[in-house]
Symmetry: C2
Subunit: 326 residues, 2 copies
C-alpha cells in the first residue's frame, strides 16, 4: 500500500496528539504542547514515513522516528527563536515571548531529550546506525546555527560558505529524515545513502526557494512581508550573489541602499535592492539553482531500487517544496 | 585490580582532554572546552568507573559512559547558570558572562548532543537499557530544575516537595552514574538497581550537606560566603524546616528577618536566621538527615554480591561526599 501525503500527515498529527504532553510539571510541558500544536507542514516526519513506505507497508516504527525528528526540529525552533529574538512563529507568539527565556531554554532542553526518548522506542536491527545518523545530524544543525549567527556579524561571507551553512542548518535534517525512514524500512545501505543525498539536494533547493520568495514572492500569497531579509541585512543567496557580481556604480548604489535606515527609508531600501537583484539577474540565478538542486534530488530517487509508482508521493512532495509560493 | 579514586580521576581527566574540543566552529566549541577545563570533582564519571570496577577490571567502556555523563552534567550547569543568572562557577566567569546568553544556549545544546554521541560509542549488550536509564534521568534532571525555579516564586513549598525536587535535580544523575557503570560491568539486574538506590540516597545526603554547609560551614574552609542561601531566600532544607517548626514569636521574628533588605542588613539577616535555625535545632535535624541518607547508601552497598574489599573506594567516596567541609 502506498500512503498518500494527506494520509501520512493524518498519522503524524495523530501521533503528536497521542504522545500526551499534558505532563507534570506543567510549567515545563505546556510550552512543548503549545509549540507542537502550532502546526507547520510536518515535512520531516512525512519524509521519514515516505522513505520507509518506499520499502515496506509497515510504518509503525517509522512513525516513532518521525515524531522524534519533529520534536527535535521544534526544539531547534524554540532555541533559535531566543537567539534570533523572534517575536512570532507561524503567526503565534514564540515561547520565549509568551512565557520567558528561561522557560524556552528548559522546555527546549526537555524536547531534545524527548526526541531521544522517542527515538529509543524504535525497534530496528539497525538502531545503532539510526542513533548515529540522528546524533551526527543534531550536531551539524547546531554548527549550522552557529555559522548563521556568525555570518550576521561578518561582511566577507562567500557563497560557498553560505551553501555549507544552509546544508548544515537545514538540509541535513531532511536528509536524516529520509535516511532513517529508509533504514527502518529495510533499504539497502546504498539506497539509504542515495536518499540521504536526495534530502541534501532537496534541502538546498528548499532553502534557496525560501531566499527567493523573501524578495520575489507574491505579496498576496507569501504570508510574510516582502523584503524582510533585505531589511535585516541577512546574508542570503540573493544578497551574497549581488555583492559578488556588482561592480562600479552598481556596487556603490547597492552599498548605499544597504546602509539606509529601515525606519525612514523602508520602501526605498527594499525596492532599490530588488531592482539591483533584477539588474544583476540574481533572481534568475537563484531560480536556476532551485531548479538544479531539485533536479539532483529527483535524479537521486530514480537511482533507487524501488518500483516507479512507489516514488510518486515523495517526488510530488519534493517538487512542491521547491515550487512553493509561501 | 581495584582502582583507587586518584587513579580513576586521572583516567577521567585524560579522557576529557583526549576528546579534543578544539573543533570548528570555534565559537561553538571553545566554550565547551572552557567549561570542561574548569575542573570540578568529577564525581559522576568516578561513580561510573567505581561501579563498573565492582564487577570487572576492564573500565574501557565505562570510561566512555563516564565522559558522556560528565559532559551532560556540564551542559546542565551551562544552562542552569543562565537561568539562575550566576556570574561565576568554580571561581571563574560563567559561559554566558564570558561570552553571551546565545553562546551558552547553543554550546549547551551541542554538549547535550555530544553526551549522546559519547554514550552511543559504548559497546555493551545492554546498550538499550543504558540509553533508557540515561534518557529517563536527563528528563528528570530537567523536571528538577523546573521545580527548583518554581519554588523560588512559591511560599508554600513543603519539605516533601523539596526532597522530591533534589531527588530529581541532583540525586538521579548520581544514581544513573552508578547504575550505568554496573550495567557495563556486568552486574545482575538486582545489583544494578541496588546501586541506583545507593546513588539516590547518596545524592540526597550530598545535597542536604550542601544546604547545611551554606549556613554552618567553616568560613575558612567553605570557599563561598556563609549565608548565601539565606540572602537569596532559597527554599533549602534548613529554611523549609524552620518555617514548619517556628511558632509564635519565633515565627514572627523569622518572617521579619527574611523580609530584611540584603544591602542594608546583610549580617543581621544572616546571623539572625542562623540563630533561629540553632534555636529550632534545624542544624541538628539536617545533620541527622545527612547521616541517615549516608547510612542508607552504605547499607545498599552491603547488599551487593561483591567481595567486601572491592567496595572500599566507593564507600570512601560516598562518606567523603557526606562529610565534606566545602
Amino acid at each position: 500500500m502506498i500512503y498518500s501525503q494527506s494520509e501520512l500527515l493524518a498519522l503524524v498529527e495523530q501521533a503528536i496528539v497521542s504522545n500526551r504532553w499534558k505532563r507534570e510539571p506543567e510549567g515545563l510541558y505546556a510550552p512543548i504542547e503549545y509549540v507542537l500544536s502550532l502546526g507547520g507542514k510536518r515535512v520531516r516526519p512525512s519524509l521519514v514515513l515516505m522513505a520507509c513506505n518506499l520499502f515496506t507497508d509497515d510504518l509503525t516504527e517509522a512513525l516513532k522516528a518521525g515524531l522524534a525528528i519533529e520534536v527535535f526540529h521544534n526544539f531547534t525552533l524554540l532555541h533559535d527563536d531566543i537567539m534570533d529574538n523572534a517575536d512570532t512563529r507561524r503567526g503565534y507568539a514564540t515561547v520565549h515571548k509568551r512565557w520567558n527565556n528561561n522557560t524556552a531554554i528548559l522546555s527546549g532542553d526537555a524536547m531534545l531529550i524527548e526526541a531521544y526518548k522517542l527515538l529509543a522506542t524504535v525497534k530496528s536491527e539497525r538502531f545503532s546506525e539510526i542513533l548515529k545518523v540522528f546524533t551526527t545530524t543534531a550536531d551539524e544543525v547546531c554548527k549550522g546555527q552557529q555559522y548563521d549567527m556568525e555570518f550576521e556579524k561578518r561582511n566577507d561571507v562567500g557563497l560557498d560558505e553560505y551553501m555549507e551553512m544552509i546544508r548544515l542548518k537545514t538540509a541535513v535534517l531532511l536528509a536524516c529524515s529520509l535516511k532513517i525512514g529508509a533504514l527502518i524500512g529495510g533499504a539497502s545501505e546504498a539506497d539509504a545513502n542515495t536518499l540521504y543525498n536526495c534530502g541534501i539536494n532537496m534541502g538546498l533547493s528548499f532553502q534557496l526557494r525560501d531566499d527567493y520568495l523573501d524578495a520575489f514572492g507574491d505579496p498576496k500569497v507569501f504570508g510574510k512581508n516582502i523584503g524582510g531579509d533585505i531589511l535585516c541585512g541577512k546574508k542570503c543567496y540573493l544578497l551574497l550573489s549581488a555583492l559578488e557580481l556588482a561592480k562600479g556604480d552598481t556596487k556603490s548604489e547597492l552599498d548605499s541602499l544597504l546602509a539606509l535606515d529601515n525606519a525612514t527609508h523602508r520602501d526605498k531600501k527594499i525596492n532599490g535592492v530588488i531592482d539591483i537583484y533584477r539588474k544583476l539577474d540574481v533572481d534568475k540565478r537563484c531560480e536556476a539553482q532551485v531548479s538544479a538542486y531539485l533536479l539532483k534530488a529527483i535524479t537521486c530517487l530514480d537511482k533507487l531500487d524501488v518500483p516507479a509508482e512507489r516514488l510518486e508521493p515523495l517526488k510530488t512532495l519534493i517538487k512542491a517544496m521547491s515550487n512553493r509560493k509561501k
